[in-house]
Symmetry: C2
Subunit: 345 residues, 2 copies
Amino acid sequence: MDIFYSPEHRAHRGEFEFFRGELVPCFEKPERADYIHAALVRQELGNIVAPGSFPLDAIERVHAPRYLRFLEGAWDEWAALGNTRDAIPAVWPIRGFRHDVEPDSFIARLGMYSFDSGTPFTAGSWQAAKLGADIALSAQRRIAGGARAAFALSRPPGHHAGADFLGGYCFINNAAVAAQAFIDGGAHRVAILDVDYHHGNGTQSIFYGRPDVLFQSIHGDPKTEYPFFLGHADETGEGAGAGFNQNYPLPAGSGNDAWFAAFDLAASRIRAHAPDALVVSLGVDTYVGDPISKFRLDAPEYLRMGDAIAALGLPTLFIMEGGYAVKEIGDNVASVLRGFRDRAG
Amino acid sequence: MDIFYSPEHRAHRGEFEFFRGELVPCFEKPERADYIHAALVRQELGNIVAPGSFPLDAIERVHAPRYLRFLEGAWDEWAALGNTRDAIPAVWPIRGFRHDVEPDSFIARLGMYSFDSGTPFTAGSWQAAKLGADIALSAQRRIAGGARAAFALSRPPGHHAGADFLGGYCFINNAAVAAQAFIDGGAHRVAILDVDYHHGNGTQSIFYGRPDVLFQSIHGDPKTEYPFFLGHADETGEGAGAGFNQNYPLPAGSGNDAWFAAFDLAASRIRAHAPDALVVSLGVDTYVGDPISKFRLDAPEYLRMGDAIAALGLPTLFIMEGGYAVKEIGDNVASVLRGFRDRAG
Ligand SMILES: [Zn+2]
Ligand SMILES: [Zn+2]
């Protein structure tokens, strides 16, 4: 399958994230994508293809224009205030605060559009985030054009970003942008399967009221795991979207069997939805060796994961999300794609 | 007038606050209260009285019990996780996230109950915050017993704390606790006048739906000034509380005349409310020399402020809020009390 990638993701290189009361070096590093790229090339899993550039319209289909305007100008504004460090929010609107009035203050707008202080906004964040969405859209076009599968090696990741908020190392929700592009291209139904260790809270919130985009997420229980405030099993959609959202939270420490039992439930929901395309939010931070996550999937399980996804028999767009055990991340992603290829042909 | 104070406020001593992308030394220091105490003693403005201790019931009248339980146990939980630095939130529930499920994770609960990362939770924060509320309640009892006025030298301050959130250096809303105590003691109507540079977002949100407690706040325009997400002029109360909340946001740089023009509007609202008691959230960060605020009140204006408050002719409880120009803070507070005394007798 074609692998969409650009080395310019390196424009986003956060220095520190705020964690447990102190600034620590960022876990979300450029090397993550480089390791994946190297493993895919080494294992000859497909051609590396440079992405095209798309107008913002496709992104505005799932993100609020005022949020995108903010992201686009954020670094220049921050730098004009005399700052050289990465921008990290420090005050935010909680219960009962207003969201309808956009403050003039930069730091207030940054807080209004953020849900954590672990996602530094850097000089190259907008460029890299836009590029990540362009990569997702390029891969989506390939599938819309008839390919069985494609892989979008987007970085930074996207599944924590909502219509108007960033967080969890994410700025633009690449999976949501791509799913919407399928719909806008004529698809009647799309399914998003999120296999990242962390709940795809941004993706869920974007499609929560819609019946056309089914969302299925297998992840660490938000009672104890990031992003904490969404991802429970009783979140099943609202309004017209009621019944089109399922979460499969698993306790920290869950291993292969528990994970694939949840996968089988998600797969049966996807089959019942009969989508025209499947978007996979592919995080490999479910790996037993991941430094910030707590599932215990062994390396061979990623082959099995790719095989099981291929068995759904759907046009499939893989979009890269998390995974932080830098050395193994490339091999695990490669295993998913290999498992998929071996079944799908 | 009696001045309620305890040196044990020093138990709350934050090391760093998170500001503009980095950790900086806290502006809210124990020395603030010590300077005020010294100035009031030096100017012989009243007897220094130690506070009594009150059961939590009075605080639970305006704060959510689960929030208070969290504060009470927070340091022990945080320390049990192996932390020695102050606790500062790093992830929080934004638009569409859940507030109904309290996570097990400590850092998630800290984020759920916070709206900024400028309010470090320290080993002594709960003790000092509880003491601050006891000081406010002790002073309130003095007025309920017939005194014309009393001063609660509470620290940490309170007016940014809401029913279930901390922030802005505040944990328990001392002014709200005291206003509620007046009501619970038989008062039909109470007015709260907030003269701190920063909008009293916590106080507003606690009483926003109630007609018995009128809230009037004169402060820096939230479009540019902390706390940013509340404090606009069009916030006038809701439901039964409609019309019982007025904000007077003034642009950064406002001086004496603009400030007292707003005061006159607030005073006429207070007179119309005909309250049984007045609670003054007394911040002196309106001072021209304040390091983090942007009004330009000159030192003699604090005498005038005390005089104007006394002219309302109401039983008056002063509760200390902000003010960060440490050297001058004591003199400015003393001027307010002196202005009040000279008029009230
Ligand atoms: Zn993840
Ligand atoms: Zn203040």
